[in-house]
């Protein structure tokens, strides 16, 4: 060390210099990077906000099998606030629910349909009326296909809508009416137009089959030959008189006239006797529709076509005194016609010829149609089919699942339960024990939810002092909204001033307790 200096070449000197410089640069970069990062507890200057103490909280120790008991998720978040506000939960927070918003905006359900269940008198139609009002305020048109009480006529009138009252001496609806399909098909592009026309044809056929099944009652399935015969008869009519809507009597005439097309479809090969054997059965069923029992309801052309730019209700309350199967047939006709019109409207909207419009379709009294004949579930599925889900919400209503269980064949029962299972959301009012049990087989209901639903059917108490008509049953207006596996949302419907003024006091919770329904068949 004290001796001679080590001989260092310039190359080594330069390497050492470069190393030192790199080291200096690295340190400078680090200083620059950490210059703007405050020290651990914050900037220590005045008004710098440094923290005086950052100490740990008192700690407790346990095994994870025990500490999990301090479960952080026991308080849930409320229902989403999207849709029509329908009521309030127990703690006063608002519940908003309607199938269209929950499908399109909130994406909570997989298709925009709801199924409403509940014993009579507990306010199902009030719930749906609130949804109609709310959706009308959002620009959606409520369409009620078949009002039996009537529950919705006042509402639709107040909304400035069209009331079509069916019955003898009033309006008529032709079951084979599928709207002005030919005219519309000509206006839109050829492929869509062709689809529209084919759908209309199939709808007409389904309607005829449905009517025959209802007329034949328990005995009657429609055989495949008869179905083929009817399809051929409809085609013959279409070729002979394109653009004109046939009446049932027209179809009977076509069948009777023994056209070749019909003959080919039934494989009678020109044999008139064999043909008559098959055709007469069909004609007999169709002619029965004109008899007095069926009130001449199905034999006239449609007097008032349904408009698509305003709310609509088909008021069938005048026919309430008719028998079950007639009522079922009328309701099914309304549904079919209504859906045909909505289909046409959607075709026009898709082609850009009409402004986009949302619809909310209310189908009340599902059980009347189901009990009208055999195999109605398939017909309903066919006749309530739409080309697109978007833009149309549906609400189907019935009393309890036991109505669906009362169907004669097991296959029908299974398919009927499918209505509930396939609905996007299910709204239940109070149900009896066994009914709640039946519902829990289709929908995952927890024990607590079942207990809540059955508690809502507790009978009202006798109160000697007050007038009895002022007492509402305790479960009135209380519903549980159930979507898939999520926990149900219990709510109480609270009416506003505007709604209370809309109904008069007698009809406030008009469902089945008062009103014209007194002489009805329920």
């Amino acid at each position: 060390m004290w001796g001679k200096k080590k001989q260092v070449s310039t190359y080594q000197q330069r390497v050492a210099q470069r190393k030192k410089q790199a080291e200096r640069e690295r340190k400078a970069a680090q200083r620059a990077r950490w210059k703007n990062v405050p020290p651990v507890l914050g900037w220590p200057n005045r008004w710098g906000g440094a923290m005086a103490n950052l100490v740990d909280v008192p700690r407790w120790r346990g095994t994870t099998f025990q500490v999990c008991g301090l479960w952080p998720f026991s308080a849930g978040t409320g229902a989403p606030l999207q849709g029509v506000p329908v009521g309030q939960t127990v703690d006063g927070s608002t519940v908003c629910c309607d199938p269209i918003t929950w499908f399109e905006t909130a994406r909570l359900i997989s298709n925009p349909s709801e199924f409403v269940l509940g014993n009579p008198g507990l306010g199902k139609s009030t719930f749906i009326r609130r949804q109609c009002l709310g959706l009308a305020a959002f620009g959606t048109l409520p369409l009620v296909f078949g009002d039996t009480k009537p529950d919705y006529v006042d509402l639709i009138e107040a909304l400035g809508g069209q009331v079509i009252s069916l019955g003898t001496g009033r309006d008529f609806l032709n079951p084979l009416d599928v709207g002005n399909v030919g005219e519309v098909a000509a206006r839109i592009d050829p492929k869509a137009g062709k689809n529209l026309i084919n759908e209309a044809r199939s709808r007409r056929l389904q309607m005829l089959l449905a009517l025959i099944q209802i007329v034949r009652g328990r005995q009657g399935k429609v055989s495949d030959r008869e179905e083929a015969l009817l399809a051929a008869a409809l085609d013959v009519w279409d070729e002979a008189e394109p653009g004109h809507t046939p009446l049932v009597s027209d179809i009977v005439r076509v069948i009777d006239s023994h056209p070749d097309a019909c003959d080919q479809m039934v494989l009678t090969r020109g044999d008139i006797e064999a043909y008559r054997a098959i055709a007469d059965k069909v004609s007999a069923s169709l002619l029965a529709l004109g008899s007095r029992r069926w009130g001449g309801l199905f034999g006239e052309h449609t007097t008032t076509p349904m408009r698509l730019d305003r709310p609509v209700v088909f008021d069938v309350s005048d026919l309430d005194r008719q028998s079950e199967d007639v009522m079922g047939a009328v309701l099914l006709t309304c549904w079919s016609y209504g859906f045909a019109q909505v289909n046409i409207a959607q075709a026009l909207q898709d082609a850009g010829l009409a402004r986009p419009q949302h619809y909310f379709i209310v189908m009340d009294e599902l059980w009347r149609i189901l009990s009208a004949g055999v195999g109605m579930v398939d017909r309903i599925n066919e006749l309530t089919r739409l080309n697109r889900q978007r833009g149309v919400g549906q609400a189907m209503c019935t009393h309890t699942l036991n109505d669906l269980e009362a169907l004669p064949s097991e296959e029908d029962r299974r398919k009927a339960r499918g209505f509930v299972a396939r609905s996007g959301l299910v709204v239940t009012g109070g149900l009896a024990d066994d009914e709640a049990e039946a519902l829990s087989k289709v929908l995952p209901l927890s024990g607590k939810e079942r207990a809540t639903i059955t508690a809502w059917t507790n009978p009202e108490s006798w109160n000697a002092g007050e007038g009895l008509e002022n007492l509402a049953p305790p479960g009135q207006g209380k519903f549980l909204i159930k979507v898939g596996q999520r926990p149900g949302i219990p709510l109480t419907v609270r009416l506003t001033e505007a709604e209370l003024m809309l109904n008069d006091t007698n009809k406030r919770w008009a469902n089945s307790r008062v009103g014209r329904h007194a002489r009805g068949s329920n």
């Binding site: 220590p44 923290m51 301090l70 927890s446 506003t496």
Partner: protein, 490 residues
């Protein structure tokens, strides 16, 4: 129906080490040192020796820590730090344009200023945020979920969910490099703003009169919207030798696994939080008025992105018993004692549920899991310590015997596969700065009482406790100068 199948939980204790009877390790050492010094000094000067003994006794007394409280020494040190900070003017904070070091940014005050956010993506394209705590070298993941609650849910379903949660807590012990985890449940009761924001933009101009009148009536008559409860789950990892990119790559593969483990624990819709969402949450925490602005923007369908440089405060002031930030006042409590005895899984329900008396409430559960290998050592040591206390004390109490039983139970559970976890709880309540706090305070006391826990205000560290209560993954014991082993000794 539900009573027989109700599962009860308990058996947590305040960790305390014991070396000689009831004295903790630290106190024993002080005592030994004092005795040694006495023995050395006494031959020269008895008075000095007695003074040393006296000082030793005082030191032991000051480090004695009752369950859940702080020792006198800690209290004195905290007060000194507080006075020093006040004297230096550090309790106030000015950020934004007038801040000296802020460079125009409004970052989080104090220890939060060193936090940086990174936008990352998993292999499947899921975006998540990586929160970097620069000065302590840790990184946090944040997840968001909606708690499902236990209304109308069957007890056996709740038990299943709690078991899944236990599985999550156990898995925390196996995560490599995990320093801490936290669950933040934030509730905001609604003032009707959300309902109005959801309905008004949708009303059609050409709708019928009756319908519009009804909707206006509803907005007037249904004032309370629906209270919102959000859950955030954060996990904080130590950086080790990795740099940010390395940590991000490693944690990106952990994200789907963690989401899978959390699934079914009662938190629905677990998803990772993005950087802008986290910034928004923190901004709403520091400035509750901003929540209204964001809600309106949401109703309009606009997207609002907050930069991390705007997320903090422009003006704030810490006081001994509250924290004032941006026109709002927050009070933070910490859990002094956990529920005694046994409780069921909905014990925290009243504490967590939205409450109309408080405008914004945040309950944070802080977990420090022990790694699986040290857990078994600790459990055995706990058994040994409990035996020491029971057998070494002159008058063994029933409580000592019970704590021995509990230590045995914990050891048995650990052998069955449980992990050992340290937990704490922090409650923050935010209101307007000029509102009367006595109502909110009374409400919190009541909620704590019904949840069987005892709370204590975070005297002298309101701002720090506020930061710990946010879903940012701040692990408080990383910020102290004392290493962990020394802290445990007292």
């Amino acid at each position: 129906m539900s009573a027989p199948s109700e599962v009860m939980y308990g058996n947590w204790h305040h960790p305390r080490s014991a070396l000689l009877g009831t004295l903790s390790t630290g106190m024993t050492i002080i005592g030994l040192v004092a005795t040694l010094l006495f023995i050395v000094i006494a031959p020269f000067s008895l008075l000095a020796g007695l003074v040393v003994l006296g000082l030793g006794g005082v030191a032991i007394a000051m480090t004695y820590r009752a369950e859940g409280n702080r020792s006198m020494l800690e209290g004195v040190m905290m007060r000194l730090a507080w006075w020093k900070a006040k004297a230096k003017g550090q309790t106030g904070m000015v950020g934004g344009l007038l801040g000296e070091k802020a460079n125009g940014a409004a970052k989080l005050p104090g220890a939060g200023g060193a936090i940086r956010l990174w936008d990352c993506q998993t292999a499947t394209g899921l975006e998540f945020v990586l929160v970097e705590h620069q000065r302590v070298g840790s990184y946090s993941l944040v997840f968001e979920a909606a708690p499902e609650g236990n209304d109308l849910v069957d007890p056996h379903v709740i038990n299943t969910r709690v078991n899944v949660w236990a599985g999550f807590l156990t898995d925390l012990g196996y995560e490599p490099g995990l320093q801490g985890a936290s669950v933040v449940i934030e509730t905001v009761p609604d003032t009707g703003e959300r309902l109005r924001n959801n309905i008004e933009p949708k009303l059609a101009d050409d709708a019928p009169e009756v319908a519009l009148a009804t909707m206006h009536d509803v907005m007037r008559a249904y004032p309370d919207g629906a209270a919102v409860a959000n859950a955030y789950i954060t996990l904080t990892y130590g950086a080790g030798k990795h740099d940010t990119a390395g940590i991000a790559a490693e944690l990106a593969s952990r994200v789907p696994q963690i989401m899978g483990v959390l699934n079914g624990s009662g938190a629905a819709g677990v998803r990772p939080v993005t950087a802008s969402r986290l910034a928004r949450v923190v901004r709403q925490a520091y400035d509750p008025q901003a929540a209204r602005v964001f809600a309106e923007a949401d109703a309009m369908g606009e997207r609002v992105d907050i930069d991390w440089n705007e997320v903090g405060v422009v003006g704030a002031k810490t006081q001994w018993d509250c924290y004032i930030h941006e026109g709002a006042r927050s009070i933070t409590w910490e859990m002094k004692s956990a529920p005694r005895g046994v409780v069921n899984s909905s014990v925290l329900h009243h504490l967590l549920a939205p409450n109309h008396a408080t405008s914004r409430k945040r309950v944070t559960l802080l977990y420090t899991p022990m790694s699986a290998d040290s857990a078994s050592r600790t459990v055995e040591k706990d058994v040994t310590d409990a035996k020491q206390r029971y057998l070494g004390a002159r008058k063994p109490t029933e409580r000592d015997r019970q704590s021995l039983d509990k230590a045995h139970q914990a050891a048995a559970e650990e052998a069955r596969g449980a992990g050992l976890i340290d937990f704490g709880l922090v409650v923050t309540v935010t209101d307007q700065w000029d509102s009367d706090t006595s109502g909110a305070e009374a409400t919190v006391e009541t909620m704590a009482a019904s949840s069987k826990i005892r709370l204590r205000k975070c005297w002298g560290h309101q701002d720090a406790a506020f930061l710990v209560g946010l879903p940012l993954g701040v692990v408080p014991n990383r910020y102290s100068w004392m290493p962990a082993a020394m802290r445990d000794a007292f």
